[in-house]
Symmetry: C2
Subunit: 289 residues, 2 copies
């Protein structure tokens, strides 16, 4: 089913491949409406757009991997490793699972539809992959919450008192709601088209909002953790190596978020309208025709 | 010059007023391309869109005001008030000025072009107002940074060691760059249209990113401050009234950010393409015709 490599998608015309590219200036303002975007994109311009997408996508994958390596390294080498026994070693699963699930997997799931090699194909398998990646991200986030709740309960520390925890639990709750509503609205064949049309802008807005809420929760959590553990001769204020590693993790998470939002905000990289022959491959969703 | 109340903007056609409304489904996916958005919006649908915008805009103004009241109340009533003498009272200006400048004023400046009553008018005065509001927001943010640097220097505390400070200084530095590049690219008559067309998507993406970075900096800062000051019998973990106020401030900031992003992400509320007769009122920018 998949096309090989970063070749142009199999759209039947350039306007199918770049249906929104000539609206870019209108999206952003008014004065450049007579600019170059009014013209149909040429082949070199299409190739430039596809190549620049894959550069950003590789950056997104690389930064996501760097976030995961950094958070694992921090908790395995500086914080003593992992266990599931109510000790501080159980807590260490919390940052690893939240960064991996709520930021890296979530961000990669969000940009999935933007990959040009998916555009010429039936959308249904990509919808299922989007839902599966997001489900995995949600499960990791929930296990990450269980890790910190178990640690708190074992140490008789109240749960959910800090602003970090309020923001984090809000992000996970909205994520769970978004997943359930997304499944019911976009994957179940019984949901009417009018409901899907109403839901989509909300799904897109809430999807982006959950990501920046997750990043805010991660930044406040890393900051709080470094103030908690770096005291005495290894004070946070003196920026020992663990502080530099934790701060770098925060910077990597922010850089990852910036790249994800850059991909999501570029209208040239949005999946084009499906042509009738493409929609014909989606038997489950045939009422959408 | 201004139209009274929430009346429809003086566009010469519905497609001018809602130039992107029929692309909404394409923006979000593909299946609903044959849905109701393909039709020109009717008058009741235009009125509904305008009324729902003003409800969101009022919510945005109300939440912004609530954030400012909450941060002022916290620092005046719970933290002892304000001074500029290197003491903790000087520090108190920091949260007040950052929340007011980098979040509330910034967010209101970002949604300015979305107000429908500005659409039928020459864009130049609104550009100048956008630049002025953002300049004021930048000045408040820089004074807010001076407040904390002065306090740190007086107490011999190093500056810029925590992740909170790294994220906050990045947000302000990007904001300053964005303002200078925006002035040079969009307000100076010598900047060529091709540069404006290239700059606009970057300006929009970076504008949104600076807001969520600012919110992440505020959340981590409030969280850190509450852990610093709430100890002993008034520990953060016991959620005394100051903790509830600080956490509520964080929730209000997040709610404000969600409403701003909802306004920015709704394509029906974007300023339409200017018609030639509207652009004719922009003598400084006449090369844009």
């Amino acid at each position: 089913m998949q096309q090989a490599g970063p070749s142009p998608p199999s759209c039947s015309s350039t306007s199918e491949c770049f249906p929104l590219s000539h609206h870019n200036t209108a999206e952003c303002g008014s004065e450049t409406s007579s600019g170059p975007e009014k013209h149909e994109p040429t082949f070199p311009s299409r190739m430039r757009s596809i190549v620049s997408f894959y550069i950003c996508y590789l950056l997104c994958l690389g930064l996501g991997l760097a976030c995961m390596v950094c958070v694992c390294l921090w908790n395995s080498q500086w914080r003593g490793g992992f266990a599931w026994d109510g000790s501080a070693l159980q807590f260490n699963w919390h940052p690893v699972l939240m960064v991996t699930g709520l930021v890296v997997l979530y961000g990669n799931g969000a940009v999935l539809y933007r990959v040009p090699l998916t555009w010429g194909q039936n959308k249904l398998p990509w919808k299922l992959l989007h839902a599966t990646v997001m489900f995995l991200a949600l499960i990791l986030s929930i296990v990450g919450l269980c890790a910190v709740f178990g640690f708190h309960n074992d140490k008789k520390i109240p749960n959910l008192y800090s602003l970090h925890s309020w923001i984090g639990i809000t992000a996970v709750a909205l994520f769970a709601m978004q997943w359930v509503v997304g499944l019911a609205g976009f994957l179940l064949p019984c949901s009417p088209i009018s409901i899907r049309a109403l839901l989509k802008p909300v799904h897109v807005w809430m999807g982006g909002s959950i990501l920046w809420l997750s990043i805010a929760a991660c930044i406040s959590g890393i900051n709080e953790k470094l103030f908690f553990v770096l005291t005495g001769t290894q004070a946070y204020v003196d920026l020992p190596s663990e502080a530099l590693l934790g701060n770098s993790l925060g910077v990597l998470i922010v850089a990852f978020g910036l790249v994800v939002f850059m991909i999501l905000s570029n209208h040239k990289w949005q999946r084009p309208d499906s042509s009738p022959e493409v929609l014909a491959y989606t038997p489950l969703l045939e009422e959408e025709n």
